[in-house]
């Protein structure tokens, strides 16, 4: 336990010193702030540039959330995966972990500490980004009231842990950052492909990242999210356990 706490502290410092947290926070915050503005002003900008272009209908608050989910689930989480793809490969290639492990730091503590800090920093970045979108949307569309906004965001946040678990497995198996990221991308692609197949589509965690807008607009209900959320959490936990198991057998 003392090893875990010590390593969590070390991970936190490291993420601050190497700007990993700063970059991720900035990416998420920029998308959080710009989502509402882009939704509001894109039609105006376009019409100013091309006067004879056919105008899309007047933007609504839902468009701001469309921007948010498009950007965060795409670019935001990609940045997260790319930034944390090097969380173990750096330690492998330099050999810094060897000294820690030979001091009796359990391998489980290494993985858990890395997971904990990545999850905390992702959570902070994500919800700050959410708050920014929420604030600016409320400011730009003062009379709009949308249901389930927070719950839709919760769904994508749950999927964030799934991404992280898959990334951890990749980082444990592969010694290179690039292959870890590629592995994560591959598995995520497989999950989204499985999400198309009809009989299992409604259980797929893929829903958590693609149907958020439908939940806000009321096209689907909250109950449609329940099973995918549970599936996602279960896979995340199993993935983390698998990563620990694999790491225990890893020759350092």
């Amino acid at each position: 336990m003392s090893g875990y706490i010590a390593f969590v502290k070390k991970e936190f410092t490291e993420n601050m010193k190497n700007y990993r947290f700063l970059i991720m926070f900035a990416v998420f915050l920029i998308f959080g702030i710009t989502s509402a503005f882009l939704a509001k002003f894109t039609p105006e900008i376009l019409s100013a540039l091309a006067a004879d272009m056919e105008m899309s209908p007047e933007p609504v608050a839902l468009d701001a959330w469309k921007q948010f989910y498009k950007n965060i689930s795409g670019v935001g989480f990609s940045a997260f995966i790319i930034l944390y793809g090097s969380c173990l490969s750096g330690e492998y290639s330099k050999g810094t972990l060897v000294l820690m492990v030979t001091k009796g730091l359990s391998r489980k503590a290494v993985i858990l500490a890395k997971y904990t800090i990545a999850a905390i920093l992702m959570t902070i970045s994500y919800w700050v980004s959410y708050a920014a979108t929420y604030g600016y949307t409320a400011f730009l569309w003062q009379d709009a009231s949308l249901p389930n906004v927070a719950l839709a965001a919760l769904a994508l946040w749950i999927a964030g842990f799934l991404y992280l678990s898959i990334l951890m497995i990749g980082c444990v198996i592969f010694r290179q950052t690039f292959t870890s990221i590629l592995f994560t991308g591959g598995i995520v692609a497989v999950i989204s492909l499985l999400g198309i197949i009809e009989p299992i589509a409604k259980f797929s965690p893929f829903i958590l990242t693609t149907k958020n807008i439908d939940l806000i607009s009321g096209e689907i209900t909250l109950s449609d999210f329940m099973i995918p959320a549970v599936v996602s959490i279960v896979i995340s936990i199993l993935g983390l356990l698998l990563a620990i198991r694999l790491f225990n057998k890893k020759q350092l």
């Binding site: 003392s2 090893g3 706490i5 010590a6 390593f7 502290k9 070390k10 410092t13 490291e14 010193k17 190497n18 330099k94 050999g95 810094t96 060897v98 000294l99 820690m100 492990v101 030979t102 001091k103 009796g104 730091l105 359990s106 391998r107 225990n248 057998k249 020759q251 350092l252």
Partner: protein
Amino acid sequence: MNVLRVENLSKSFGNQKIIDNLNLSVPEGSVFGFIGQNGAGKTTTMKMVLGLLQPDNGEIYVCNEPVSFGQTKTNQFIGYLPDVPEFYNYMTSMQYLRLCGEVIGVSKAEIEQRGDELLTLVGLNGVSKKIGGFSRGMKQRLGIAQALLTQPKLLICDEPTSALDPVGRKEILDILRKISKTTTVLFSTHILSDVERICDRVAFLNGGKIAICGTLAEIKALHGHDSLLLEFSANSELQMFRKQEAIKPFLPDSEENNREIILHSRDIKKVQHVLFRVFTETGLCPAKMEIMEPSLESLFLEVIK
């Protein structure tokens, strides 16, 4: 008591057998030199002792407790210094030692005190620079400090001096000698002068096995023949010396160089007796006479042949 005992250890990488049925014991209190060529399997053996690599076969005991791959309790007895130790560059040495101390689970006050002592021992006290700016020698010294933080019974150093300049090397060897009073040191290297400087026991690793093992004196006595060097003040004296009947039996085994001659024999005392008789009879007087110790280098070359 043996701090480290290795029994019938084997390890292959792919088709290549690196360690082949290796047996080794390191007695408590010794400074043990583990000698072998590059790629002989020194690092592999050490990593197996630390539970970082899985042996194909065999048993390893540290302080009579078996080593198991992955999580091994025996690491609490061991301090490890890898060949090129790497730390977290953004930390200072004291911050790094604090992290190590927290991982081991030592109290804060104790970490501060021990950290201070160790940094003084390795000459890094008062260095406030981040580790990223350290030279290799400094990293090596910090490596020793972190390895000793656990107050280990056994310190394993993997080629601690290989990458260092003469000053850095001397510093590391001095530190190792200093700590050898309280800690058993296992020290792998292919630099033989280092071994002669600080080790009292050695083992030569060759072909995945221990080729010779014992105290330095034992090994020198067992292997390699004794030699005697004679230097004359002029070449003519040397030629006259060579013509003596009593000397002739030794000549086929000798090496000659300008005014010097080196005689080899298993019984060096007998050679000395003969020489003194020749000197009194002929009135010849060498400028220098020296019994040459067999060098580890010649032993090493003999072993790997």
